[in-house]
């Protein structure tokens, strides 16, 4: 900054000069390089002091509350060094106390002008009032003249644009963040009987979202749905459709539909939501009690099953090479496989294998071999598989499930012909089973709730009812009957004999629910073992 010798940092008084265009140009370049709104305010102070003023305070409105008055405290302050300091002017941090010169709440005052020692310049851009700058000159300096007012106005206009852009960028970043966080698949804690690891690497490194997704959805009866999908395309557009399809799959999963039906319904939905889109998806349901896994694929790459002994196979599912979702009525079938304990199912998207310069079959074969050779913890397996995939600008998604199963001694199931003694019989079965599990402490709760559900089932069933107890971190009780109507929690009238059972269950159980199944329904509840 030019300062004439013998005058400290103050401009010499004298005849008005023409605007210093070289300075203005250089200052504009500096201001447009500002980082963030506060950075722009600081740069503005540096341009104003000492060249135009002895002190400059820059106030900014809260960008969150558009139209609100600027904050009490300036975001940047700069004052010429006191005589004798000998140092350069300091651009201070925002003051912590209300500054007497600062504007109070209310419209920012646009006061001052040529002939005064205090000049207030609004910061405005794109029709928005962003804040203002207050410039003062001490007694050792002449009042602001016309050219100083013009120059200050010009600098402030440039700074206002910088502030505006910085604020827009911040709000874009905030929106992106929200979008990214809401679009990024995050699975819930793993359900019982299965161990899960996953990787998700979007091809779009700026937005960090993509058309890939995966999901781990707990279902009734300790079952769990594993999902991997890939909406064709990249970036936000693919991600937006992905989010809709992911929600759809969650909804379809909650209906406990078989895998092929989930994907067929998803095809209908995808064509309604986005007619021209193409999506591949793989949907698997693992049952840790019977140790089976049902898998359906809509044009997705084949999953890899790694057996306990390390043997790895690409599951050539029926119709797995069939049509993807979005083309209408894809031929999809559910294939059922044995899911032995300690075997692993690896689901992934094409980013893990696809490179244009290689044959896809070769790459699948290499992935299969790598998966079989890598042992050890799931996280390590994920790292190895991702390393082998190498750098790619495609989305990469990997979901690995190791089947753990629920030990058969933690499962007890019975079929019973419904009659008047059945609720009592089931209470006895529950009592005995919980005693075997060392959980007599919660037995009364489970017995009471089970008796209510079984009494309901016996009222409606025309054939056998099924009863099941499963011990995981909770005790699960299920009763199945051949009546399709799901129970509804109603308020019984004071004199009603019926309608209280479900209220009792809801009070005694942590969670309860009902599911339509083939041939009827299942009603269930869980009770947490006391610590």
């Amino acid at each position: 900054m030019a300062a004439e010798p013998g005058q400290g940092s103050r401009l010499p008084p004298g005849p008005p000069r023409p605007p210093d265009l070289a300075f203005l140009r250089a200052a504009t370049v500096r201001l447009t390089g500002a980082h963030g709104p506060a950075g722009a305010a600081r740069l503005l102070c540096e341009e104003l002091v000492p060249r135009l003023a002895d002190t400059a305070r820059v106030y900014l409105s809260d960008p969150e509350g558009e139209g609100r008055p600027p904050r009490h405290h300036p975001v940047a302050v700069r004052t010429v060094a006191a005589p004798g300091d000998g140092g350069a002017p300091e651009t201070g941090a925002p003051e912590t106390e209300a500054h007497p010169a600062g504007p109070g709440p209310g419209p920012f005052p646009a006061t001052g002008g040529a002939g005064t020692r205090t000049l207030a310049v609004p910061l405005e851009a794109c029709g928005r009032r962003l804040g203002g700058a207050i410039l003062t000159r001490g007694p050792g300096r002449p009042p602001f003249d016309d050219s100083a007012v013009l120059l200050a106005g010009q600098l402030t206009a440039v700074a206002a644009l910088a502030v505006h852009h910085a604020q827009v960028e911040l709000s874009h970043a905030a929106i992106t963040d929200v979008v990214r966080q809401s679009l990024r698949p995050e699975p819930p804690p793993p359900p019982p009987g299965v161990e899960i690891a996953h990787r998700y690497r979007p091809g779009d490194r700026r937005m960090l979202v993509g058309g890939d997704w995966f999901d781990v959805i707990p279902l009734s009866g300790c079952r769990v749905a594993l999902v991997v999908g890939d909406v064709m395309g990249h970036g936000l557009q693919a991600a937006a459709l992905m989010a809709q399809l992911r929600t759809s799959v969650q909804t379809l999963a909650a209906l406990e539909l078989p895998p092929d039906q989930v994907l067929r319904s998803l095809d209908d939905i995808a064509r309604r939501l986005a007619g021209e889109s193409i999506t591949t998806c793989l949907y698997a349901v693992y049952d840790p009690v019977v140790r089976r896994c049902g898998i359906a694929s809509a044009g997705h790459l084949p999953p890899i099953l790694v057996h306990r002994d390390g043997r790895a196979e690409l599951l050539g599912l029926e119709a797995s090479t069939g049509l993807p979702i979005g083309l209408g009525r894809p031929p999809i079938e559910t294939t059922e496989i044995a899911a032995d304990d300690d075997s692993m199912l690896i689901l992934y998207t094409d980013g893990l294998v696809e490179r244009r310069d290689h044959d896809i079959d070769n790459r699948l074969e290499r992935l299969r071999a790598t998966a079989g050779a890598a042992g050890g913890p799931l996280e390590k397996l994920c790292d190895v598989l991702l390393d082998r995939a190498g750098g790619t600008d495609d989305d990469v998604t990997l979901l690995v499930a190791r089947f753990r199963g629920i030990p058969s001694e933690h499962v007890a199931g019975w079929f019973l012909e419904p009659h008047s003694r059945t609720p009592g019989q089931v209470r006895a079965l529950v009592r005995r089973t919980l005693q075997d599990w060392g959980l007599s402490g919660i037995s009364w709760r489970v017995e009471l709730a089970a008796g209510e559900l079984v009494a309901n089932a016996c009222r409606h069933a025309t054939r056998l009812i099924s009863v099941r107890l499963v011990l995981t971190d909770v005790v699960l009780f299920e009763v199945g009957d051949d009546d399709h109507r799901l129970p509804v929690l109603r308020s019984p009238g004071e004199l009603d004999e019926q309608g209280r059972g479900l209220h009792i269950v809801a009070d005694l159980a942590e969670r309860w629910g009902s599911t339509r199944v083939a041939g009827g329904k299942t009603v269930w509840f869980t009770v947490q073992p006391s610590p």
């Binding site: 009690v289 058969s408 499962v411 006895a428 054939r463 099924s466």
Partner: protein, 233 residues
């Protein structure tokens, strides 16, 4: 018999069948099932333990009847290995052929226990012990008591009986079992014990295990094992 489709067949209610018709239906089902039985139920720890209980109480050379012997595995095989004189009976010719291959040294007869008179006929009894693993559940409840009394009659005084059932509360209900239609009966354990005691046995050993069959869509079941001694002279 241990596994059952969760959905009973359409013919859930017991049709009016003569005993011969009923037996022919059950036998045909097991003729169809054949070797698949042992594939679906590969682990038989409960049955092994019940046989162990029996062998600990028998001298080598003792005469043992295997009622509803099926494929002869694992029980007839193990009893023969322990030096017992084993006689197996079943109503399924296909199962008996498998049993004869699996346990050549034993004697196998196609026979329904309920057809036997009070005399022990061609069976060559009396027996020191009898086993009846998952076969009583192929009979309707009205025939289970008589079948147990028939076994009682075939045993020497103080003779031993081990049996197993699936813990279910139903009488003669149609099921799809390994793709074959059968009719199934069972008791909850207290009721089973009462039926066995009623037939003249003292229950000395009980075991209940949860069992998950190695087959598609087969629900886990609770299997009951009883070790009993014939009461009375």
């Amino acid at each position: 018999m241990a596994e059952s489709d969760p959905a009973p067949t359409a013919a859930g209610a017991a049709p009016d069948l003569t005993r011969q018709e009923f037996r022919a239906l059950q036998a045909a089902a097991f003729d169809r099932i054949g070797e698949r039985y042992d594939e679906a139920f590969p682990h038989k720890e409960g049955q092994e333990q019940a046989v162990t209980w029996l062998l600990q109480r028998l001298r080598p050379g003792a005469r043992v009847l295997d009622a509803g012997c099926g494929t002869g595995l694992p029980s007839a095989r193990r009893l023969a290995d322990a030096g017992m004189a084993v006689t197996g009976v079943d109503i399924s010719p296909v199962m008996l052929d498998l049993a004869r291959r699996n346990v050549p040294e034993a004697r196998f007869l196609e026979m329904d226990l309920l057809d036997l008179g009070e005399e022990t006929g061609g069976l060559g009894g009396p027996f020191d012990a009898a086993v009846a693993f998952f076969c009583l559940l192929m009979l309707p409840r009205r025939d289970i008591g008589p079948a147990l009394r028939r076994l009682h009659g075939l045993l020497v005084p103080g003779g031993l009986l081990t049996l197993s059932m699936v813990e279910i509360d139903m009488d003669d209900v149609g099921f799809q079992f390994l793709g074959a239609p059968v009719r199934v009966t069972g008791y909850l354990r207290d009721d089973l014990r009462a039926v066995v005691e009623e037939a003249g046995f003292e229950v000395q050993y009980t075991d209940a295990i949860s069992y998950a069959p190695a087959t598609t869509q087969a629900p886990p079941e609770v299997q009951l094992f009883l070790g009993c001694q014939r009461r009375g002279g």
